[in-house]
Symmetry: C2
Subunit: 444 residues, 2 copies
Amino acid sequence: MNKKFLTLIEEEKYTEARKSIIDLPAVDIAKLFEEVPQPKLVVVFRLLPKDLSSDVFTHMSSELQRQVIEAITDKEVVAIMSNLFMDDAIDFIEEMPANVVKRVLKNTSEDTRTLINQFLNYPTDSAGSIMTIEYIDLKKHMTVGQALDYIKANGYDKETINTCYVLNSSRVLEGVVSLRQLVLSDDEEILEDIINLEVDSVKTHDDQEEVATTFKKYDYYVMPVVDNENRLVGIITVDDIIDVIDKEATEDIHKMAALQPTEKPYLKTNIWHLAKNRIPWLLILMVSAALTGGIIKRYETALQSVILLAAFIPMLMDTGGNAGSQSSTLIIRGLALGEIEPKHFLKVIWKELGVSIIVGIILSAVNFLKIYLIDKAGVLVAITVSFTLVLTVTLSKVIGGILPLLAKRFKMDPAIMAGPLITTIVDAISLVVYFATATWLLKL
Amino acid sequence: MNKKFLTLIEEEKYTEARKSIIDLPAVDIAKLFEEVPQPKLVVVFRLLPKDLSSDVFTHMSSELQRQVIEAITDKEVVAIMSNLFMDDAIDFIEEMPANVVKRVLKNTSEDTRTLINQFLNYPTDSAGSIMTIEYIDLKKHMTVGQALDYIKANGYDKETINTCYVLNSSRVLEGVVSLRQLVLSDDEEILEDIINLEVDSVKTHDDQEEVATTFKKYDYYVMPVVDNENRLVGIITVDDIIDVIDKEATEDIHKMAALQPTEKPYLKTNIWHLAKNRIPWLLILMVSAALTGGIIKRYETALQSVILLAAFIPMLMDTGGNAGSQSSTLIIRGLALGEIEPKHFLKVIWKELGVSIIVGIILSAVNFLKIYLIDKAGVLVAITVSFTLVLTVTLSKVIGGILPLLAKRFKMDPAIMAGPLITTIVDAISLVVYFATATWLLKL
């Protein structure tokens, strides 16, 4: 299908090209358009019927959206804008350069312009920034039959009609009723008697991550967003929440790898930007790692007399780093999913201590045998390395378990307290233990 | 609320306790029950009306479910089981010990038992394992009015009625129609004329991660699951897909930190089990790190003459590890979200090379100045360290970028190719470069 459409476009057989895509889902058409050579893009876009074209437009990359908007007439801009759901319109406008935004706003009605400006003012990552305004509002004195008639008349351009909201004359949210309830009820019943008065709502400035947590907990498909006076201003649907969940997981994963998180896909980020996101943490960690260098220098004479000690430094550091990463990762993810909370501090220390003892003893035993039997490095060196290993593993695991919890308690992002930082901290401590033990055991 | 209920239970004021929770969402009641002392659990559970009790049961932890099931009568077991949605029943049964499963199955009807056994046979992580069977099926010759009447009569105990499926007499899936379409259409229209014939479905054995990707791409709320003859066997709803998305992200995050992934929450996993999930990778990586020890031993004489060289080993290794982690993390997450594919191999290498040069030069410059001006270690040592750093960063980033892509191409899990493994590989290479450069520059 893909190939066929592009070949038809190349051969300028537009009618056939149109026929080959017209029944595809909008998102697939948008993806096909990414491959169309730029000069033909607008021609191809104009092949679409009006309704479909807004839908396809929503799913295009912002680069493509810009190209289309810059090439079409003002009248076409009006047509697209009037068919976009508010949340999609905002997503689009936020990504456009200033001159495009100006042109788009010039071509929308005064009312819509005011609304768009209001939406653009909601903080990024707030409930307001992901909500939309195309919902069904009912009145509580309506009968079920009247409500269904009202939905029939007004439902066509709404994002969802599966959940409807009951508002009073000041648009204050009074209750919620699902299409399911309406359909399963008798036509004569009054809404007031069947609506659910306990409506769980969020505020425009609530953090989208908290909203996502509520969606997950109660298996919601849609939630109302209200202002401080409890007036309904929008709704959030579960498809947008899925995007939030993916985005938040990506952000955590990036932070855990010492990256400054970015929403832009890797392939569409240029090299300078990629470098900019990586340098800060690498620099901080590199400078911190100099501390370990200082420790080695302090023990230079010890090292000089038993140079073999240097050979075990990489293994000790890597194992400590990995052990710490494991613990901090489990805690960070547990915090993100709400399975662990800062109050579990002592439980975490206790568990990590227990695990450290088991893991430490097994790793040390393997290590001792390897050094003694294969490396033939002498029993004292073997003991020094193995002892340091147990201590390093224990320290890494306890520190890896605690730091994310402390971060959370002090309202910092736990995801920073991951492998890279833990490794740097534990490296220094374990080197001190290593050389202190060696100096004492080997009498250096 | 929480405190009040538990106090009332303690004082054995059950009627009041019941009143204090009866209007809460089932998931919140289940959470409260976690705090109830075991001997009173069944008493408290029996306070709930029948409908609500199944719902609360679904949301309880499997430990609590077991305690309840073991304490109630066979008749009560029947009541709960008959009210559970099939997907929740399966989740519950999968977590129970054999004796409980036996008792539960004994107390279900022959038909349900057959169904449960069929569901238990679907592979973990398959579409079949997360689907449920409570859907609305219509016939295409029905009018919209008849369909709505049918839904009214049969919709009450269905997981969703917002999407209905049109089946022929052999239960083959012929089309789909949303409640929205039905409500917005005239009662006299025939379903055949309004249903969507292009139904996107999944097979029972499809991987749940792929199903989740389809949900995300098309913003679905529900999808039908069919067998090889295209007969409808169940539906998957978006709330279960959200669980899949969270689970898959957790699995990736765990693997990236050298953990064997587990679905059990941290706080509910015992120390032995936690240790078991951590030891294998720690052992593998520890033994591999011995390679680096071998390299240091080979250059023992060089190290002996300029012992200062040892001081920079931790910094080089940490920075290399962090640089590689950053790249592999970006690629692994990009692959998981479908933003990057194995075919982008050359693009990734190109980008990572570009980024490496920028990052490498900046880090090396800072490092050179620090060693030369602060450590006063001599210009040759400074050059050796800085040169090795550029090379280490470049190697780490290119290897970190490539390995996840190769893993994906060869149908392995890219998440394994993360920080810990990359660090171990790059450590060895960078040490060779370090000592080779030192031997040559410092004429050792």
